[in-house]
Amino acid sequence: MELKLPIYLDNNATTPMDPRVLDAMIPYFTEKFGNAASRNHSFGWVAEEAVDYAREQVAKLIGADPKEIIFTSGATEGDNLAIKGVYEMYASKGNHIITCTTEHKAVLDTCKHIEKEGGQVTYLPVQADGLIDLKELEAAITDKTILITIMYGNNETGVVQPIREISKIARKHGVLFFTDGTQAVGKIPVDVNADGIDLMAFSGHKMYGPKGVGALYVRRKNPRVKVTAQMDGGGHERGMRSGTLNVPAIVGFGKACELCMNEMESEAKRLSVMRDRLESALLELEEAYVNGNREHRLPHVTNISFKYVEGEGLMMGFNKNIALSSGSACTSASLEPSYVLKALGLGDDLAHSSLRFGLGRFTTDEQIDFTINAVKTTVLKLREMSPLWEMFKEGIDLNSIEWAHH
């Protein structure tokens, strides 16, 4: 079969919808169009039943009770609702939140907003491998701490934080633990009880479901967690999130969760084999480095820096044929180097020369072959033209050179 271009290798930004998900949604776009809050007639009940079923599918994927699932418009809204909601609800207990520097913008910007409101936020650094230091986490807890928010899997490096250890520390100090599970849920086993998670946000479009829908898990038992609604209105979603339910998208999200649940094990295995093959082939290049911990990592992600190569040039080399990014989609329009990679200790040059490969359900071996070849060729070609590479090959220590500033 001929390879169809461009190849999509940016499944951390968004994923194509699984046709089985779309099939499940279609009836709710067309004949089953009722408002799930209409309680007086069958159009409403049919919609409500569909939402209830989806809620079970979503809950099951993360080992939660369906009553603990609040449907949202996506992970960003979930992140906002969890952090602001806890901050407002537990104001009498304290005003301190702990997060880390490699979180998604939805968490970081919300934390910055909280600071403007008068809250205190500690931004933990990460180690060179992207993991947080648990001792630092524990040391940061004060009697005013109400929330720890650390993401499950990082969107740029795929690094998976020690969630269970974090939740143990949170529990020990009676602090709530929220995790942005957007990249991890559906890809690796996530169980809110085994993992000790109190709140978790995730979204449909990162797991082959539709855009415009997500969920916030809010623990109901041990402890019972409450959040202050950030959108008031008809009192939907047990008062925590008002607004007419996006029924077709919720149905699709439920189906996407079910598919992930059924296929996760084999899919994770398939993708990690493919990812490892891609990674080792690219590491055959000189001066190529994987960013982040390779052991505690999502199975479908690798982030690689190619030293002495300009990232933009690198992208230009195969942009037409391979869709991938050098950082997160949300910040890719800016030319700033990735703050996540900088937090790992990379200099601007290395951060600029990195590529994020996000494999997915529809990635094939042929696509990986093509990618290996295209990336290798481009790197070699760019280095051939690079005076820095030439100097490096001549054994000149580039750090010893004093550059003229102009």
Binding site: P6, D10, A13, T14, T15, P16, M17, L22, F29, T30, E31, F33, G34, N35, A37, S38, R39, N40, H41, S42, F43, G44, S73, G74, A75, T76, E77, D79, N80, H104, K105, A106, V107, L108, D109, H113, S203, P210, K211, G212, Q230, M231, D232, G233, G234, G235, S242, G243, T244, N246, P248, A249, N319, A323, L324, S325, A329, C330, S332, A333
Partner: protein, 377 residues
């Protein structure tokens, strides 16, 4: 059993042409609009084209249109921003607003972010403009006026231009919840002194999960959701791409069909109202049914008796889908807050039913419903 859907103020069926416009974005055109490669560029372009379409129809600038997850989010964003960013210390609203407005302003009052006044209603349930002016004149600090354009339960239409002029006179910020009128009436935003309006796709044969917030270019507000530069830093979160495309398409179709559809639906409403008047003694029309009223909504109260007590239930058994109040409150058995406000809590011996129509309804359906009502009342 074939069903009759007379609950179009709760939600409408998606137009097949809208679904067709959405399909490419549910399948091969799936890129994250923030991505810089082709997959992202083509979807970004689709969103910006949708924005231009919507802006043009509403006679607004594309920069004034922000896509949200729906009407509720838009209302919350507008009301919160008016207090937080625009210096409003006082809110004027009415007791017949949608809960998205009422609960948000109650929240503001509860946390002492603003004081709250309710403008009086006339006997037909219209906003008393003289009282509105009194309230505006009586407050030294800047006011936010939030009044819906068309009431979702009884259909009363606000004199939106007149309210806009009053707000201008007193330097007040004006938000109008236009969820029931966007896609149902031509709105010319250049001609109305309004700072915020909102719309929801699913009220005019578009998709659920998507709405707009119009923010007049003369006001600057901060976002409600934080965390990404989408919607020009105003609304973070990966865009509901197919929803946005569907919203614009649905609004385009609604605008094209306005003349014929509004005449047709108005005909249905008038027909049913006349027949009810003729055949049901003691029936009472809620709101300004024959006056300044939304052509899609007919709200009628039947005298309470043993039979009518179960009216909603029995109508459903007969395959007739209507509502007692709005969908958002239909779960609670409480009397609709709108009906209660219009009659000052005095209409408890009546059973209010909202019939709301779309272009898919017919006179034959109305005849069927009338026959059934004769049995049930």
């Amino acid at each position: 059993m074939s069903r009759i859907y007379f609950d179009n103020a709760a939600t409408t069926s998606l137009d097949p042409d809208v679904l067709e416009a959405m399909m490419p974005f549910l399948t091969e055109k799936f890129g994250n609009p923030s991505s810089i490669y082709s997959y992202g560029r083509e979807t970004k372009m689709a969103i910006e084209n949708a924005r231009k379409t919507v802006a043009k129809i509403l006679n607004a600038a594309p920069g004034e249109i922000f896509f949200t997850s729906g009407g509720t989010e838009s209302t919350n964003t507008a009301v919160t921003a008016a207090i937080r960013d625009l210096g409003c210390k006082h809110i004027i609203t009415s007791r017949i607003e949608h809960h998205a407005t009422l609960h948000t302003v109650e929240h503001m009052e509860h946390f002492k972010h603003a004081t709250l006044s309710y403008v009086r209603l006339t006997d037909k349930g219209h906003i008393d403009l003289a009282h509105l002016e009194e309230l505006l004149a009586g407050n030294k600090e800047r006011s936010l006026v939030t009044l819906m354009h068309a009431n979702n339960e009884v259909g009363n239409l606000l004199k939106i231009k007149a309210v806009g002029e009053l707000c201008k006179k007193y330097d007040a910020i004006f938000h109008s919840d236009t969820v029931q009128t966007v896609g149902h009436y031509p709105l010319n935003l250049k001609d109305i002194n309004v700072h915020f309006i909102n719309g929801a796709g699913h009220k005019f044969h578009g998709p659920k999960g998507v709405g707009i917030l119009y923010v007049n270019e003369n006001v600057r507000i901060k976002p409600h959701l934080h965390g990404g530069s989408q919607e020009r830093n105003m609304r973070a979160g990966t865009e509901n791409l197919y929803g946005i495309v569907g919203f614009a398409k649905a609004l385009e179709i609604a605008t094209e069909r306005y003349e014929q559809d509004s005449q047709y639906i108005k005909g249905l409403k008038t027909y049913m109202a006349e027949k009810l008047q003729q055949n049901f003694p003691g029936v009472k029309f809620n709101g300004d049914t024959n006056g300044s009223s939304l052509y899609t909504v007919l709200n009628v109260s039947f005298p309470m008796n043993e039979k009518s007590d179960m009216l909603l239930f029995n109508l459903d058994m007969a395959g007739i889908c209507v509502s007692g109040g709005s969908a958002c409150t239909s779960g609670a058995n409480a009397v609709s807050h709108v009906i209660s406000a219009i009659y000052n809590g005095q209409a408890t011996d009546m059973v209010p039913i909202r019939f709301s129509f779309s272009r898919h309804n017919t006179k034959e359906e109305i005849d069927t419903v009338l026959e059934k009502l004769k049995e049930l009342v």
